[in-house]
């Protein structure tokens, strides 16, 4: 059985993970969606057609997506220090998690935005909508189910990334699992951590799917 001390540690790690993922998620959402909108609207034939911007931004996004997280984690240490003033702890993990998850989410959101029927966009143009109306009243609402679905996937990926960030001493559940499970062969703690991670992922996935279902079936 787990001691009271272990339970406290698990609870603290759980809160750290939520904190880490929560803060990152907020940043990923608010940076990823504008990024996706820029990627979609600057493409050929779209409302802000700008092939150069599109290509440069697309390449940057691809570059980050192609780099394995574990390498980002190390490579971003100078940036992390610059922004947070430290390279360990919850806040330090937010930087690499955000940098890795934002391009991922932006691409998924981009696909949903691109799938908004061109007919609907055209109808909006024909009724005299300006570009900002098209973005906020047509593109975003129409793509919302897909964006939410993509954000759910991103959240799950971020939880797994947060566990990995434990390897560089970021705190949270991953850190706990590595310190006790891997380094001290305490299988109970490791199993407890895995159980908690499974529960978090299941809840997020269920909530996401449910929301998408409601959006699509109204």
């Amino acid at each position: 059985m787990l001691s009271q001390r272990m339970l406290d540690a698990l609870w603290q790690a759980f809160l750290d993970t939520l904190y880490m993922v929560g803060v990152s998620a907020a940043i990923v959402w608010f940076v990823g969606i504008p990024l996706a909108i820029i990627l979609v609207t600057t493409a050929k034939g779209q409302i802000f057609e700008a092939p150069l911007v599109n290509r440069v931004l697309g390449s940057i996004v691809n570059g980050f997506r192609a780099t394995p997280f574990i390498i980002l984690l190390v490579a971003l240490i100078p940036l992390t220090r610059l922004i947070t003033g430290t390279t360990i702890g919850v806040w330090a993990a937010v930087v690499p998690i955000t940098v890795s998850a934002t391009p991922f989410f932006a691409r998924i959101a981009e696909v949903s935005l691109r799938e908004v029927s061109s007919g609907v966009i055209e109808a909006a143009q024909a009724m005299g909508c300006q570009k900002r109306h098209i973005i906020f009243n047509v593109l975003l609402p129409e793509a919302l189910p897909g964006i939410i679905g993509g954000f759910t996937i991103t959240l799950v990926a971020m939880i797994s990334a947060s566990a990995m960030a434990g390897a560089i001493g970021a705190g949270g559940l991953g850190d706990l699992a590595i310190r006790y499970g891997y380094q001290r062969y305490d299988t109970t703690v490791m199993l407890a951590v895995i159980a908690i991670l499974i529960a978090i992922v299941a809840i997020i996935q269920y909530a996401g799917d449910r929301y998408v279902y409601l959006l699509k079936n109204r």
């Binding site: 007919g119 609907v120 009724m127 909508c129």
Partner: protein
Amino acid sequence: MNIAVAPYRKAAPSGAADSQKTSPTNPLHLRLEGVGKTYVSGQRRVEALKDINLDIYQGEIFGIIGRSGAGKSSLIRTLNRLEDVTTGKVLINDVDIQSLDTNGLVKLRRRIGMIFQHFNLLSSATVFENLALPLKAAGIRDKQRIRQRAQELLRLVGLEGKEDVYPSRLSGGQKQRVGIARALMLDPEILLCDEATSALDPETTQSILSLIKEINKTLKLTVVLITHEMSVISQICDRVAVLEDGALAELGPVWRVFGRPEHEATQALLAPLKPKISDDIAQAISATPADNTSRAIVKFFFDGTAATYLPLGILSQRLGGDLRLLQSGIGRLQGHPQGELLVSLPYQQHELAQRLETINDLVSTVEVLGYAVPANA
């Protein structure tokens, strides 16, 4: 089956001179001057429109037909600048719309409603939110006013009480009604319809057409509509343009274009509507009369230019009285009776041609198809 080569065929002069009389008297609304549109995608260039000259008058319902790929959508889309013309000009109320800046274009589009084959409603928004969008985009914030206007239009299109329903819960016909209501929210002066009834069943098509006709009358809208259904044109359009391969092939009042199609493309489009001679008669026809009791099988064609009615008594009298009606397909288009009559009359050598000459003023075309024995015709 072998139908005789017509030994006698006479056509009355076509109604070209008469187009002056029927051209609309309303003020000019839209004018296309030498409009051309070329799409360039990579190496490929498609000349979708070639030197189109066209006037559309206030309050008319103007139809555009043509084969698939003829350029109909391209043409209608130049009217609200969803496509920019490559050459030529589009004038609306005498203003060259190419000269408008972004702001001017947005204002222009608010005066032009458009409805689509696939309705193009926002699936993420309720009927009310769909209707509210054009007003919101026009900067109208007054919730009360928006709701009132939406209710007004839902009443007009027969969808009262559907404000809070999502489009996925509506039938195709209902969706198109929402589309129409949305197009009318800003009280436009022009309504563009690109195959607005193509996705609907015949009954729903009828109801949507009546609705378009009704709003054309009550709101005094100019309507430009594209369709693949010739019946749509004959039912509600005043004039029709036929596009073929990007060029204007034919243009005129519907009754004239449909009654006497001159261009091959128009004839091909209308071919399915042409009555076929029924098989038993076609089989009974032979190229030469068997003997003196044979009857001549004659087709009279009325293109609608001759009169507002067909004087059957006089027709029969001039032809000697013994006229048998075999088949008829006379309809009425914009007050002009038109179609074909298939009749038989006694064949008497030398006299047939002379007799048929006497009805030139009543009939547009006379064609002797052949001869049959009296028992058959």
